[in-house]
Symmetry: C2
C-alpha cells in the first residue's frame, strides 16, 4: 500500500482551509487506520462512568484530508469502498441529550461488544452480524470556515449510512480544489436510522480508491451497491412496528417506541438494551409519505439476530 | 371458501357504525374480491383524460366490514395474509395535487400496465417484479363518525406498506366490538413510500385468516414477515440518492428528486415516468435521524428492474 493515513492524522472539523496530509493521483488506493468515533477516548475497558468524561470536542474526528490531483469544484469524487476491517471490540452508548429518544433515556448507558467472528454477541442470545462501514465519508464543504463533524450535508460527512459497506461505490460532489477527502467513524454494525445515536463503534482499517470523475455532476451524495442489501440480516423473518402521524419525526419516534416495547414483551430485553439494539440492528423505512395527512415510518427488526 | 366478500360490498368511509356485511368466527378464512382503488372507475382502457373525471368520493373504498365474533376493544386482531391474486392489468397515475412532488408534477399522467407474468413491463425495458398486497387493511377506528379512507391511523387503514405481502402476519389493535375488519386498494408492486401516491393499482382477490388475540394488547399496527424482505427486487445492486437536511419531509423530497435525475441521466427516462417508477419500485429509508441538525432520507432503486 503506497498511501497510508495514520490514526494520528485527523481534523476535528470540516474546513476547506485544512491543509491536506497527502496529495494522491486520481485512481490511487488509500489505506486509513482510523480511531473509533470517540477519538480513542473510549476503550475496551471503559465503563459507563467514562461517558461522563467524554470530551465532545474530540468526537467524530475525520482522518485526512486527502487531496486528489486534478479534482475541481463541479467534479465528482468516486470513492470505491474496497475493504473495512473493524477492531476486535466496539462500543454502543446512550449519551444523555443525544439520540432519537434522548428525552426518554436521560441516563448514560454503555455496552462494550467483542468482535471476534462474523456475528457479535451484543446481548446474551442476541447475535448481530457484522456489516462494517464508515459513518463518516466526505469532502471539504462548499462554504469556508470550520463546520462541526456531527451533521452530514451535501458534501457527505457523517452520513451514518449502513449500506456504504465494502463493494459499494460512493459519489460525492466536489466543492474545493483537490476535493479534500476524509473519513472516520468506524461502525461494525448499524441499522438504518442509527436511532440511539451510536452504532457498534470501533476502530477501523479502511481501503478506498479515490477517482476524479469529470463526467459526472451531482448535487449531493449518491451511491451504488455491489449487490443485494443487508445480506447478513435479511436472512429470515422481520418483525415490524409502525409509527403513524402527520410528522415524520414523531412517527419515527413512535415506531421505535413500539419496537422497544416488542423487544421487551417478546424477547425480554430491558428498555435501554432494546433502544441500543434498535440502533445497531433495526431499520427505519418510510412506508408511505403520501396519504394526507398521516405518514408511516416503520421500524424493522431482523429476527435472525435471535437465532 | 365459506366466506366471500364481493366487489360490491364496500364502504366509502371508516365508521364504527357501518353494519358488518358478515359475522365470522375467530380463525376463519375470508376471501375478498376487491375492486381497484378507483372503485372500478379506471379500467384497462382508460386514458389520462379519464383522470380528470375521477370521482374522489369513490376512491379507496374498503371492502367489508367483517365482524369477528368475540373481538372486543383492547384485543388484537391477527390477520394472516394468505394470498393475493392481482388482476391482469393495473394503473399508475400522477394525480394533480396528490403525491410527494405534487407541486413539481402538476399535470395528470396515467400508465396502464399489463400483469401477465412474474414481472410487469412498466416501461420499455423496465420490468418490475410483482409483489402483490393490499394498501388498505384496517379495523373500525376508536372515534365515532365517518373518517376518510385516505389517511392511515392506529387502526391501520391505508397503510400502503409494501411488505404486507402473502405470508406476513399483521396485528391490529381492536377498538370496536367485532373489530369490523375491511380491506382494499390492491397493489401489484410498490416501493417503500409510494411517492407519487399510487402503486400499480389493480383489482385483487385476497385470502386472509382473521383471529382474535386476547393475549396481545397493541397501540398501533405491527407485523411479522414470513421471511426475508423484498426477495423479488433485492437480487442485485441498488442505486441510491440522498436527501439531507433538518426536515425529514424535505429530505425525502430531495432524495426522490435526485433519483428522478439519476433515472433520466443514466436510464433515459422522462421525469414523470421516473417519478411513477420511484413510486412502484424504489424504497425510501431513513439512513440517519440523530446527527443534529441534519437527517438523511435515501431513495433506493433496485437495478434488477433494468435487467
Amino acid at each position: 500500500m503506497s498511501v497510508h493515513i495514520g490514526r494520528d492524522q485527523y481534523a476535528l472539523a470540516w474546513d476547506r482551509a485544512t491543509p491536506p496530509v497527502v496529495m494522491v493521483a486520481s485512481g490511487e488506493v488509500i489505506e486509513v487506520d482510523a480511531l473509533d468515533a470517540s477519538c480513542g477516548q473510549i476503550t475496551a475497558d471503559s465503563n459507563v462512568a467514562d461517558l461522563a468524561n467524554l470530551d465532545f470536542e474530540r468526537v467524530d474526528q475525520v482522518h485526512g484530508p486527502i487531496a486528489i490531483a486534478g479534482a475541481e469544484p463541479g467534479d465528482t469524487l468516486q470513492v470505491d469502498l474496497l475493504d473495512f476491517q473493524p477492531g476486535n471490540w466496539g462500543w454502543t452508548a446512550a449519551i444523555p441529550g443525544f439520540g432519537l429518544l434522548a428525552d426518554e433515556f436521560p441516563d448514560p448507558a454503555l455496552r462494550i461488544t467483542r468482535l471476534d467472528g462474523p456475528r457479535a454477541e451484543f446481548l446474551p442470545g442476541v447475535r448481530v452480524p457484522l456489516a462494517p462501514f464508515c459513518g463518516v465519508l466526505g469532502v471539504a464543504p462548499p462554504k469556508p470556515g470550520p463546520h462541526s463533524t456531527i451533521p452530514p450535508d451535501v458534501f457527505g460527512g457523517n452520513m451514518d449510512t449502513r449500506h456504504l459497506t465494502a463493494g459499494t461505490t460512493l459519489f460525492l460532489p466536489v466543492f474545493a480544489p483537490g476535493a479534500l477527502f476524509s473519513l472516520g467513524d468506524g461502525h461494525a454494525a448499524q441499522g438504518d436510522g442509527e436511532v440511539c445515536g451510536t452504532a457498534i463503534e470501533t476502530p477501523m482499517r479502511v481501503e478506498v480508491r479515490l477517482t476524479v470523475r469529470k463526467d459526472l455532476h451531482l448535487t449531493g451524495p449518491e451511491f451504488q451497491t455491489a449487490g443485494p442489501l443487508a445480506t447478513s440480516t435479511n436472512t429470515g423473518p422481520w418483525y415490524a412496528t409502525d409509527g403513524i402521524g402527520a410528522d415524520l419525526m414523531e412517527a419515527a419516534r413512535d415506531a421505535v417506541r413500539r419496537m422497544i416495547d416488542y423487544l421487551g414483551r417478546v424477547h425480554g430485553l430491558a428498555a435501554v438494551d432494546a433502544y441500543l439494539l434498535c440502533s445497531i440492528a433495526c431499520d427505519l423505512k418510510i412506508s408511505e409519505i403520501v396519504d394526507v395527512p398521516n405518514w408511516i415510518v416503520t421500524a424493522y427488526c431482523p429476527l435472525a439476530i435471535f437465532g
